[in-house]
């Protein structure tokens, strides 16, 4: 699942149209839009709002592994208005905390890379970095739900020393984002591909048939899970097949039989 955290409705609007997201009509603390693959939440501006919205989405939609993206507009001291960039460093001005989102994908050619400083007030004393008001809170919170590689912040530059933030309109914010939907989608797809590759082998093992039939202690439950992992890695048959003997009555016997069978099962080399 791709989770998009966006501060303003004007910034979210192009995504809602592009991904054909449906608004969830039941009352929620934050506006939530979704389709089968994407969930989008608008947080409102500022760190507290973003942290709350990110935590809320993580809690209400706890997909074990998701890609978390904060997309929005930002100021920059050197990039031009309309430039798209991914944050390779996020610094929180108030606390001086720093994060380095790992740059694990090959960026789209039109995606620049930048340091991003999250400030609490509109910042017009531009240096050669980007400025926003939410990214640090998003990163800090989303790291509770996903590996750092899959928590990224993308910004479209909306104001610079030569283009005042005070002139920005909702329509302008929407148009800046809209111009880079393809770039952002490219980044999302690259992260999805990597995510699939990294987690392709990680699937939860169905313990239910075992737990229904035998009583496992907490410790045995863990042992069963690890034994079945090894079983499925080494053999390709159903472990329940060898457990059909009626004489097996206790969980300890189940574990013993599985482990004894596995013990001298030399694996084949497959390339």
């Amino acid at each position: 699942m791709i989770k998009l955290l966006i501060a303003l409705g004007a910034e979210a609007k192009p995504f809602i149209a592009y991904f054909k997201l449906k608004k969830i009509e039941t009352p929620t603390p934050f506006k939530l839009y979704r389709n089968d693959a994407v969930e989008l939440v608008t947080s409102g501006s500022g760190r507290i709002s973003m942290a709350a919205a990110t935590a809320w989405l993580g809690g209400v939609s706890p997909h074990a592994r998701s890609i978390w993206l904060n997309v929005g507009t930002a100021g920059h001291g050197q990039f031009e208005v309309g430039a798209a960039c991914i944050a390779h460093k996020v610094q929180e001005a108030a606390s001086k905390r720093v994060w380095y989102p790992p740059q694990v994908i090959k960026n789209h050619s039109s995606l620049l890379s930048t340091e991003l400083i999250t400030v609490d007030q509109v910042h017009t004393d531009y240096e050669n970095v980007a400025y926003d008001m939410e990214a640090s809170a998003f990163i800090a919170t989303a790291h509770r739900f996903a590996n750092a590689e899959f928590v990224q912040s993308l910004k479209i530059i909306s104001d610079t020393p030569y283009s005042s933030v005070s002139l920005l309109t909702p329509a302008a914010l929407s148009s800046y984002i809209e111009a880079h939907l393809m770039t952002i989608e490219h980044t999302v797809n690259a992260l999805v591909d990597l995510h699939r590759k990294v987690y392709q082998d990680v699937s939860s093992i169905n313990l239910t048939p075992f737990l229904n039939r035998w009583r496992f202690t907490t410790s045995q439950h863990y042992q069963l899970s690890e034994t079945l992992r090894r079983w499925l890695a080494v053999r390709h048959d159903d472990p329940l097949d060898i457990l059909c003997q009626p004489s097996i009555k206790r969980a300890a016997e189940v574990l013993q039989l599985l482990n004894t069978t596995l013990k001298y099962e030399a694996p084949k080399v497959t390339v």
Partner: protein, 342 residues
Amino acid sequence: MISMIYIEREIALHPRTQKICAQFPKAQHVLIDRYTEVFNPKNQNFRAQKENPALILAYKHEHHVLAVPESYGLGASAHYYFSHLLNCPYDCRYCFLQGMYSSAHYVFFVNLEDFNEAIRAKIHQAPNQEQWFFSGYDSDSLAFEPVTCFAQTCIPLFEEYPNAYLELRTKSTQIRSLTHRMPLKNVIIAYSLNPDAIAKALEHKAPSLEKRLQAMESLQEHGWRLGLRFDPLIWHQDYQHHYQTMIEMVFKRLRPEAIHSVTLGTFRLPKTFYKNIVRLYPKEALLSAGLEEYNSTITYEKNIETQMLHFCKQVIEHYIAPEHLFQYSSSLTSLETSAAYA
């Protein structure tokens, strides 16, 4: 290709930093205070980072040279290891680095001269005794040689101290810095070797067995002494056939006088590292079979380990004298050998 270089501010102007940055003209540079800010955070995914690792250029402040754990002693009076580089461009499924670190980024400590000084200081503590210095514990010793020039910088130190030995542990074919200089008797180029089938299945991105053998042949032609490291031995169907074939091939192509030593050891990992690796690769059959816990180490069940070591030892002893063969066993507290290592 490196696309991101994190650089500690302290060494941003170091000549080696500037030389390395020039080798990757398209890479993004990010200044950092300490490499640990990028390398140490816990919620990173090693497997994801392995797809596109960054290079971190850092300064090593202390602990340049460390004592080798007692169980890895080799019979000399002192054994040390040092790590100028953390992580490796190869992606071996059994490698403990992926269980030890949360990041797959490469950390290179540019102050190589400080490593040399620390080695020199250790040698001076006991100048008449045999001392060993191992490189290649936290990385492949040669794989990044064109970038780091590590061997080129470190080896000349050992010209001055014939009692001090350097082992460069590697799977690499980056041997130009060795073949372009005079060999030293007290520098051993030790190759990790596994049968081709295992190399293909587990040693991703590493040179093939054939490429390693070609590199070793070239090194022996240039007069370098070689170490053969059949470690880790991996238990699998047909392991006897695979290991016998490989060992015979290796000894057919290398001259006995070029071989300094041979070591044998089966797959073994500290339990915590093993658990981390299994979390990354839960379906890896070769890391899932025949294993048990022994003193907080995951290793092969005793019978399997004994059989594998015994079998390989028998094959190897056709080619070299027993005093050149050393083996690691989980039940031994030190390297089992009848002779000193050198």
